[in-house]
Amino acid sequence: MSTEADIAILGAGPAGANAALAADQAGARVLLVDDQPGPGGQVWRGKSAAILEAPPTPESRSGDALRRAIAASGMGHLSDSRVWTIERGDAGWHLHLADGAGQRRRINTRSLILAPGAREYVQPLPGWTLPGCIGLAGATAMMKRDLLPAGKRVVVCGTGPLVFFVASEIRRLGGGVAAIITANSRSDWLRTLPALASRPGLAARGALWIADLITAGVPILWRHTVTRIAGSERVQSVEVRRVDADWTPVGAPLFIEADACCIGHGLVPNSEPASLAGLKPRFDRKAGYWAPQAKPDGTTAIPSLFLCGDGAGIRGAAAAEIHGRLAGLSAAHSLGFGPGPDNALHLRYLKATRFGAAMETLSHPRPGLAALTTPETPVCRCENISRLALETEIASGAASVMAVKSGIRAGMGACGGRFCGTAVARILAAANGRSESEVPPATARPPLCPVSIATLAGDFRYEDLPIRKPAPL
């Protein structure tokens, strides 16, 4: 089955959905593809269809407005559809999809907008693979979908604003927060004040979260980190220590009982779709990650390829919305639809990035973060590869992410290195005294996510097998 489009958009979060709406309004034939049941992405994820009614939140209101706009538009929308590979053709792009019903589909599109979003970085630490320990982003996704709190006595740990959002959502949904542990200091936050002032609405919401948490007596341990998560079958307690300005744990340990631990250390762009499309990622020294490059108008080094939102560098949902519009207008204009983006939108985008960039600064990795990963800590979860095993392989001469992967299978499991790739590269760089910019990620390979062989194989008639000339005898 194949579908034609002028512009296909991968990802229906704030960036992709707005790109689709802008390109659709400009008159292009648009197809929006997303792996979730409905548009909204991670930040505006809709609640499960099994939940009929729930009090609205700012996220659900934004998401609902977006879902209504997409439904009212004439655009094509394929939900529950995973793009497993991207190919460049003579006259555009081919997206290969597998949908939730097990059907394979091909989209032929003149231009392609990638809005793949981000994933969470969690610094591996002892006990992080215990049931009950989840990422901050994973926790928000579950709470938005199921409206269930992460636990009754949750330790929320990490960097950036997400710790406060997760903690206040846990309380709003009836759960309990044992403590908030953040490596950021109050002065880290004070430095973001000028940027916070540019988004007074969001800043006020953040202040309300913190006020609520303080009123409720939830301890907030600034410049602290969880150093160990303990429990026999699942999370039972966490070990917490103070950190210095570099985030190196220094203080005496204290212990907090918990039934869950939500932990995260910032976001990392999903760079694999752009890599498959031929766009090489570049290393962002401050942010500590590899990101494919897009200009503010969403254009890239490849003429018919556009990229927007956190997938091009973490700038947050508000910036992603505008970046999406810009990319949608640029893509449409390049095909002769609409006038293209105007200056005012550009300026709004640049202003919005200030807030997102300031929030991201809070999670820029500092040297001490790596100390959380003890030699025995599994770094590659799929294949259970410890930091010690990685360092042993590196000491034996494995000098690249690919070499480490081949030698001991780090990143060869079901996640394809998406969870451990950043940590492996950082360990490799540190062990060899090199900059992370000299340690590029492993070559992106399809499928972008595991796909059923029955889906890929489809209906196959043996007679149609393309028998080539037999191998030379």
Partner: protein, 364 residues
Amino acid sequence: MTSNPDIIVIGGGIMGASTALRLAEGGMHPLLLERGDIGQGASGVNAGTLSLQIKRVALMDYALRGYDLWRSMGAAVGFHCTGGYTLAFTPDEAEMLETRQRLKREAGAPIRFVTPAELRIAEPLLSDKVVAASHCPLDGYANSSLTGQYFRTRLKQAAIPYREACAVEIIHRDDPGFTLQTTQGRFQTPRILLAAGGWLAPMTDMLGTPLPVHARINTVTVTERLPRLTTTVIGHATGLLTMKQKPNGTMLIGGGWQGQGTPWEGRGRVSAESVIGNLALARFVLPALGTARALRSWTGFEAHVPDFYPLAGALPSIEGAFVLGCVRGGYTIGPYIGRLMGDFILGREPELPLFDPGRRFEEN
């Protein structure tokens, strides 16, 4: 440590590394230069099949000796002897299988024909549409992912210096000797061995002795870990499928389906149509694969010349320049032909004849 090599080996795959090891054993001082990581080109991304049933008749002696070397490397390269079946599903395929396997048996591979009923006892989950099958008890596989780790260790043990991420950009003839300009500076050497696989062609061009080296872009796919479905190496009479389930339960599926790209643009691109065709055939042969998920597909460059026989010998009319590559079945044969090449450079009589790169190439 790299001051005075008496030969520079360009290419750190199985063939380059095996030759370097042989040369060092013979008292020479090779330096090995590799544009990427040791053993990460075709040597490290092929499907690892060690099957005598798919080797060329004229290369069978080389394959049998190469096979013995892999067996002796053992666990360090993930060697497993499982036996293997090659399957035919139509009368035409059965006839082709019969003809070809008979010749391979005469060439020394212990291949016999089995009935579909015998096959079903050995591999009960395979399709019941098989009309003919052959079996070779020696067939098996090694884990090509371990090639880099293995040869890096061997090179270090033999105190052979090597440089990774060192791409040769210009080869200049000094008469005598050569100067190489690389991404890590200049190197002088009296002798060179070109063992650069899919990257060979421009090197022979630079030396003024162009060779018609082309690269096929073979695709391999791996599944998630599965319950035990097969215990042997499975092949198809046309060569369009090789399939083996590894000890960890993952299924490795290949068969020479073609990807896109050139060695100059990176590691090659996977073609969706090829993956779809390859997996459709795999599922036809092993229906239980339908419920499995494919985790990852990748490509590797397999170099060849028009007659699909190796290049192994001295480059014509250039004193001190040698070439080794384009060996069909190069994973199996590589360690052995590297030894032969080393012996030749050392001035010894190789145990089996080499393949003159100066021959006339005719389409096979």
